[in-house]
Amino acid sequence: MLKLRNIETFYGNIQALKNINMDVKEGEIITLIGANGAGKSTTLMTICGVTKARRGEVHFQGQPIHGMTPDKIVALGINQVPEGRHIFPYLTVMENLDMGTFLRKDTENIKKDLEYIFDLFPRLAERRHQAGGTLSGGEQQMLAISRAIMTRPKLLLLDEPSLGLAPIIVKQIFDIIKKINKENNTTIFLVEQNANLALKIAHRGYVMETGSITMSDTGENLLSNEDVKKAYLGI
């Protein structure tokens, strides 16, 4: 479904991604783990067209997308929940969700999706008229994921959804990620520093170190890999 081939991305003269190759199959949960500054967010931004790769290609469902602007890429069915959630602070919860439907015209389904979300996160329903900026971190993460669901993505990119959240909320959010993967057949590309949790729910995983992919295997195998254990699982 998604292919990255020999991707090299730079910030000025600093190379953030070196010869990245990745494959994501339809219906999978894959995870990209790595230390802070490894280049995980840059990988997602390169896929979405926010940061342009200097070399290499990105293909989505057989179509080259590396030359496209972000809005065109979103229209193909790729959506990202970026690191830091990026809730519109002065829009209400409802308006934030509504922004997720910017490219959609199927009013009936939008209504259903909204009900689905309020069912998933009753907290958001309670706060629907509150400004996004006034929500707690956990609620903002729920809203960010919900807003992404409202776009009906084929491929959902999640950048560190567990960052800064209490364990109980993290668990809830990971359950929902599994659920939307199963129920809606949404393909998930999960970036995490919390490698333990991510590898447990992922079918496959990639390990990134200073801009390069150093390992890729099934989630299970990576969880039991000695190097991974030492470097990322703190065992």
Partner: protein
């Protein structure tokens, strides 16, 4: 206290404030989206007035009725100003979008000087008489001594523009996109919003309201020159800052406050210090409310 005099000053201030508001909207909308003080915005207003004058003269000469002349001149001014605003963004600001903010500001000042001199050379440095496009309405005769017909038209037009703009921003797709883009450009793009287009539309809408302001004031004052955009632009900019730059209701409120301040100070104290009062007031307000009357606290942008 003489009530009639007070009413005159109040309505005079409202008229001035309306004009400032029409121009201030452009400043505040552009700032809200790309955090740029578009110093060349006053020139868009000036170009609107010049276009209006040329078109109005031609069609008056051809013997068109007044109403047709007003509509044609107004439309031409809007279209022309919008074209300038759109082009200005593409050539002077878009290439600098990721450059340090000072570069874009200098580009804006350059654009302002360029347009002034361009009109100076292409037209003239003299004041040109501008026809009074708005007739004195008979039905308004009894009140004309407090508020003239042209002033009435200015106020009504401004109110209509404000209502349309509010509708645009609150209820249309492009309005939603504008609000999202002004709060978080990257996230807007990640939700499928074409940010470049939103920025272009913002310049176009701001230019249209400035052109309307330009025509109205030119017809009211009766003369224009290439420099008119500078002074009006500065005043409107003050209004936008006063209200809280980036905030649309703020720009309108700031413009009205400025209009009334000027009107009352000149009416009751002295007309020699009109601009001094305006700026004094700006300084005082900004001391107590640094982000303007309706401005958001400094954490506005992420």
């Amino acid at each position: 206290m003489d009530f009639e005099y007070f009413a005159q000053l109040f309505l005079g201030g409202l008229t001035r404030g309306s004009i400032y508001a029409l121009i201030a909207l452009g400043y505040t909308m552009v700032y809200g989206i790309i955090e740029l003080i578009n110093f060349a915005h006053g020139e868009i207003y000036m170009i609107g007035a010049f276009t209006g004058l040329i078109i109005a003269s031609v069609f008056t000469m051809l013997g068109f009725p007044t109403l047709a002349v007003v509509v044609l001149a107004g439309m031409a001014a809007i279209v022309y100003s919008c074209a300038y605003g759109f082009t200005m963004e593409k050539i002077a600001y878009k290439p600098l979008r990721n450059a340090p903010r000072l570069s874009a500001l200098i580009s804006a000042i350059g654009m302002s000087l360029f347009l002034q001199n361009y009109v100076l050379l292409a037209q003239t440095s003299d004041f040109l008489p501008f026809p009074s496009l708005i007739p004195d309405f008979e039905f308004w005769e009894p009140y004309a001594h407090i508020l003239t017909s042209p002033e009435l038209v200015i106020i009504i037009t401004t109110v209509v523009v404000m209502i349309l703009l509010t509708f645009l921003i609150k209820f249309t797709q492009i309005g939603k996109a504008m609000r999202a883009t002004s709060q978080d450009k990257m996230m807007a793009a990640l939700l499928g919003i074409n940010v470049d287009r939103v920025i272009s539309v913002t310049f176009i809408v701001g230019s249209a309201t400035a052109a309307i302001g330009g025509i109205l004031i030119a017809s009211h004052i009766g003369q224009i020159n290439f420099y008119m955009g500078f002074i009006a632009g500065i005043k409107a900019f003050v209004a936008a800052v006063l209200g809280g730059i980036g905030s649309i209701p703020g720009a309108v409120l700031g413009a009205l406050v400025l209009g009334w301040t000027e009107s009352f100070f000149t009416g009751y104290i002295s007309s020699d210090y009109e601009d001094v009062f305006a700026f004094l007031f700006l300084v005082v307000i900004l001391i107590f409310r640094p982000s303007g009357i309706l401005g958001r606290a400094e954490t506005k942008k992420v």
